[in-house]
Amino acid sequence: MKKLLAILMALSVLFSFAACNSGGEETTAAEETTVATPENPTIRMSTTTSVNDSGLLPFIFPVFEQKTGYKVEVQSAGTGAAIQKAKDGNADLILVHSKASEEEFVNEGYGVERIPFMFNYFVVVGPKDDPAEIKDSENAAAAFSKIAAAESKFVSRGDDSGTHKAELKIWGENTPDGETDTWYISAGQGMGACLTMANEQGAYCLTDKATFLSNKDSLPELDIILEESEDMKNTYSVIECNPEKLDGINTDGAKALIDWLLSEEADSLIAKYGEEEYGQALFTVIAE
């Protein structure tokens, strides 16, 4: 009986060696694609609607997820709500575009470090015949004062979002008051809803280019009237949530995702996004 067992064991050892040798090359190849799942595989990212609506994230994240075994859960809301959710401990990192709010987030101890990693330009869209004649303005501020002088309709996000804050910065001291300036429509809604409203009302609107291009089919009245002026630069940053201030943060996951976003692989993916669909890149990577 003992003999039989010994033989069986010897045989099984032999077989397993044989299996290893014959499949050696295949296993190393397989290791590259199926990585061991990390201890806490879920990364919660809180981001703004404009990032989410642009379609960039579903374009780049599958590469990261396949490579690392992490799963990124993206929650999108206006910048204000996106940051508030993170402050409430419901996110591991944030990806937003509002410098002042981001710095506040870090200074209050909720965020570890603000890392700007890509940018694009806001554009001013408006009725094709450009009633306020802003087409040749040198920058957005000049265009806005022409709109105000002509009292042409203008749809504002009015929701404390990154885009709304950028708009208010361009208006500066001349921010219209919707109560008296009835041409200034403060909609308090998302980018898509505001563009639809501008299309309906024959109004101007400040928007990120990606959202406008992806909705262009349903906005027949609107065209990009002004673009690429320095005061319309729109910088996106990632911030890791501070595990010392907040409980239950997936620090390893957040770090891994940020490292990857700054990697050359992510850079080339971001730079490529939009070319196929819109014939132009929608984001530019900030070189370190």
Partner: protein
């Protein structure tokens, strides 16, 4: 906290009450008689009307909003009226939503008291018209709660009014869309405070309505 935005808050409450009042008024004007007639009348298409009304009770507000939006959009049938993003069009969407509710609730109120009241009416040999009035009078308190339900629906609705009204500051912003906006801004506590104000308005309206019926009862 609420005091800081006094002026705007009052304006928002004003728009909210105006919208809810007119939607309730119109949908009750249409729905109450229809609801009574469905139960008491004998006319062609009665059953179909009842089925339609109870089906439309399940109409999701956003869909009602979409339908109204498509009708009043620039290239819609009524686009030339230029009513999109006004309080008027919000009332229209609300009427579409609430009238079926009023019809169904009214008809069930009337049907519950059916047999017993019909016998009374026959005993008194009342005319058809007077019988109808008896039904309405007998059920006045239940019918008032139908009206209050309609008001409650319209004041609490958000999907349709934000779509067709556009949540425009100083123009079409109502309590619910303001709450949604503050939530999107991340000002959760402020949004909750606005919710409390909305509840308070509902409470006042309800108390007012019950006082009204009490006084009527003592008049009897």
């Amino acid at each position: 906290m609420l005091l800081t935005m006094d002026k705007e808050l009052i304006q928002i409450i004003g728009v909210t009450l105006k919208m809810s009042f007119f939607s309730t008024l119109i949908s009750c004007f249409l729905g109450l008689p229809l609801g009574v007639l469905i139960e008491r009348g004998r006319f062609w298409g009665r059953r179909t009307l009842k089925k339609t009304a109870s089906t439309l009770m399940g109409l999701p507000p956003v869909v009602a909003g979409l339908i109204v939006y498509m009708l009043f959009t620039k290239y819609g049938i009524f686009g030339s009226l230029g009513l999109l993003f006004t309080v008027e069009v919000m009332v229209i969407a609300q009427v579409l939503l609430i009238t079926p509710v009023v019809i169904c609730l009214t008809s069930s109120v009337i049907s519950v008291s059916g047999k017993h009241l019909s016998e009374t009416a026959r005993g008194l040999s009342l005319s058809k018209g007077k019988t109808l009035l008896l039904f309405v009078f007998h059920n006045r308190r239940a019918l008032l709660s139908v009206v209050l339900t309609a008001f409650g629906r319209s004041i609490a609705e958000v999907g349709a009014v934000s779509l067709v009204g556009g949540n425009i500051q100083w123009k079409t912003r109502v309590m619910t869309t303001a709450i949604l906006l503050e939530t999107n801004k991340g000002k959760f506590t402020f949004a909750l405070a606005l919710g409390m104000v909305l509840l308070l308005i509902s409470l006042i309206v309800n108390i007012g309505a019950s006082l009204l019926t009490k006084r009527r009862d003592s008049d009897d």
